[in-house]
């Protein structure tokens, strides 16, 4: 922020400074307002168009739902619940599965990624196998987990963890590989032990990559939990979607989709906060300093 103000104020002399800064601020505010206007108009066109087309019968609302119907269904779900009980319990079940899977996948991905990134031998031995496993459509593993562990929470957690693992693993691995060789040489000359290098050099360097992967990883954790629930469950948002599908209730599917989107956005926001904290040392991205 300080760079912005100094840059903008530098060429202006003496008393003209406050007005120049005010003008610059106005310009930034105007740009932001225009952006918001654009966003709201776009949303109005898409949702309004959907509503209009279904009302006029150009698109059949029996198959494709209707925004007002979705809103009504949403209220219903939260107030009355589903035939299996409270909607809140469904949400909690899915969030819980996704969260545990996310943590499990992230931790194992980071550990394996760093271990393999460190050791040329290990990565040489395991590299081809990891490529093979990565090529398999892992979502199918859900069926295996279901057969092995029944329709409880465990298979969903495992499926979410597997999906998360590979994303985090590849990023952690790459992050270790991208460590600046100069920094590494410097730490060695200064007398760092193998462990000290991991702690002070490798892990912080890989953290940039790992955290970047967490954004998409949580989305995958939710997908893992949902798919697991669709395959077979007694509780959860995946089950709500499956039931709505069986009842030809597109509004129910869309309503649950909205809820899931809100959950993922919330998680995204939290991960963004975490990123901001852990990576405070990074220079601000060029887009964060607005040019005037």
């Amino acid at each position: 922020m300080s760079t912005t103000s100094t840059v903008s104020a530098a060429p202006v002399k003496g008393g003209a400074q406050p007005s120049a800064a005010a003008a610059a601020k106005r310009k930034v505010r105007k740009q932001a307002a225009l952006q918001w206007a654009g966003r709201i108009i776009l949303a109005a066109i898409v949702i309004g168009g959907w509503q209009a087309f279904t009302t006029w019968g150009i698109v059949d609302k029996f198959f494709f739902g209707q925004p007002t119907g979705i809103a009504k269904r949403l209220v219903e779900l939260f107030q009355k619940g589903t035939e299996n009980g409270s909607y809140y319990a469904d949400i909690w079940t899915t969030v819980q599965e996704a969260l545990i899977g996310f943590v499990l996948g992230t931790v194992s991905g980071v550990v394996f990624g760093i271990a393999l990134g460190q050791s040329r031998y290990l990565s040489g031995v395991l590299g081809p196998y990891i490529k093979v496993v990565n090529a398999i459509p892992r979502i199918v593993l859900g069926s295996i987990f279901m057969i092995a562990f029944g329709i409880g929470t465990l298979p969903k957690v495992l499926l979410a963890a597997v999906l998360v693992f590979f994303i985090v693993f590849f990023n952690a691995f790459q992050g270790v590989r991208e460590v600046d060789p100069n920094i590494l040489a410097n730490a060695k000359v200064l007398g760092a032990s193998e462990l000290q290098i991991i702690r002070h050099v490798t892990v912080p360097s890989a953290l940039t990559w790992i955290i970047a992967s967490l954004h998409s990883a949580f989305g995958f954790a939710i997908v893992g939990a949902l798919v697991g629930e669709v395959l077979g469950a007694q509780k959860g948002l995946g089950l709500v979607i499956k039931t709505a599908q069986d009842n030809f209730d597109p509004n129910g599917v869309f309503a649950t989709m909205v809820v899931i989107a809100v959950i993922v956005l919330g998680a995204e926001w939290l991960i963004g906060k975490l990123e901001h904290r852990l990576l405070a040392w990074r220079p601000p991205a060029p887009s964060e300093v607005s040019s005037l």
Partner: protein
């Protein structure tokens, strides 16, 4: 001039007298296997000695294996033939008491200025409080008091070099290896940094091996200048620089007649090599 020189040397004489800081490079040869499967000889039979407490500059055309030599002195790399001895002991693995200053930034971007300078003592297991006190002291010596909590990206290029200098000197190394440390700086900053380096070097007086492309810099700073040939790298000539110390400002010494004379001598020796190296790379790309 001569009497001033003596006075300056005597307080550090006992430290200089330690043979543990002598670097003997003898018959050093390094070959690499290229990805195409050919053997490439980067260094061929390189020999020179750096006396304890001596400031030795190495000049030579691009690609003559200067940096390769340094990585073997520091123990980061091993020679194919020949040996490097530090204080009479052959280098085998990272040598204790050696610090390295690189051309590129080797600061940890995720650590503050203080954290970066702390690295050396912490890796050596110095208690945290003692390490912090000495890190603050070194930051003061390089003129960075008040910048302890900044991150490297918040500093200018010259300031980052000061941090790197403090980080390299905090362990009070016997040997300081510098690979074009000021190569990326502008001319004015470079001159200031050279003066500060000389000042700090005179305080703790390690043996220095200093790689540079800048002949003026080499003559102004060093006691001994080693000229290397390229392809494969070997030592062409060694010049002893008898300009008295302390030399004062790097900018002013270059107008002294003796400086100009030495600079000419070394340049005559170096020019041939630079031209040959240039002809080869230019021919290679044409």
């Amino acid at each position: 001039m001569a009497s001033r020189n003596d006075a300056a040397v005597s307080p550090v004489a006992e430290k200089v007298g330690q043979d543990s800081a002598r670097v003997e490079i003898s018959g050093l040869t390094k070959r690499f296997l290229t990805p195409a499967g050919e053997v490439f000889t980067a260094l061929q039979d390189v020999s020179f000695t750096v006396e304890p407490g001596q400031f030795c500059a190495v000049v030579g055309p691009t690609g003559c294996g200067k940096s390769t030599t340094l990585s073997m002195v520091s123990g980061l790399d091993r020679p194919s033939e020949g040996s490097v001895k530090v204080g009479g002991r052959e280098v085998d693995g990272v040598t204790d008491g050696v610090s390295f200053m690189f051309q590129a930034d080797a600061l940890l971007p995720w650590k503050t200025v203080l954290g970066n300078v702390l690295m050396g003592p912490i890796f050596r297991g110095v208690p945290k409080q003692k390490a912090q006190a000495s890190a603050r002291d070194w930051l003061r010596r390089v003129g960075l008091t008040g910048f302890e909590d900044r991150y490297p990206h918040q500093l200018s290029g010259g300031m980052r070099k000061r941090v790197a200098m403090a980080a390299a000197l905090i362990n009070e190394p016997r040997i300081l290896i510098m690979d074009e440390p000021f190569g990326a700086l502008d001319v004015q900053t470079k001159a200031i940094m050279s003066n500060e380096l000389l000042g700090l070097w005179e305080q703790i007086r390690p043996s220095v091996i200093f790689i540079t492309h800048d002949l003026d810099e080499a003559v102004a700073l060093a006691d001994r200048v080693v000229v290397m040939t390229s392809g494969p790298g070997s030592v062409k000539a060694v010049f002893d620089i008898d300009l008295p110390r302390p030399r004062g400002s790097v900018q002013e010494i270059r107008f002294q007649p003796r400086f100009i004379e030495l600079q000419h001598q070394i340049w005559d020796s170096l020019r041939e090599e630079v031209e040959r190296a240039y002809a080869r790379t230019a021919g290679g790309t044409a």
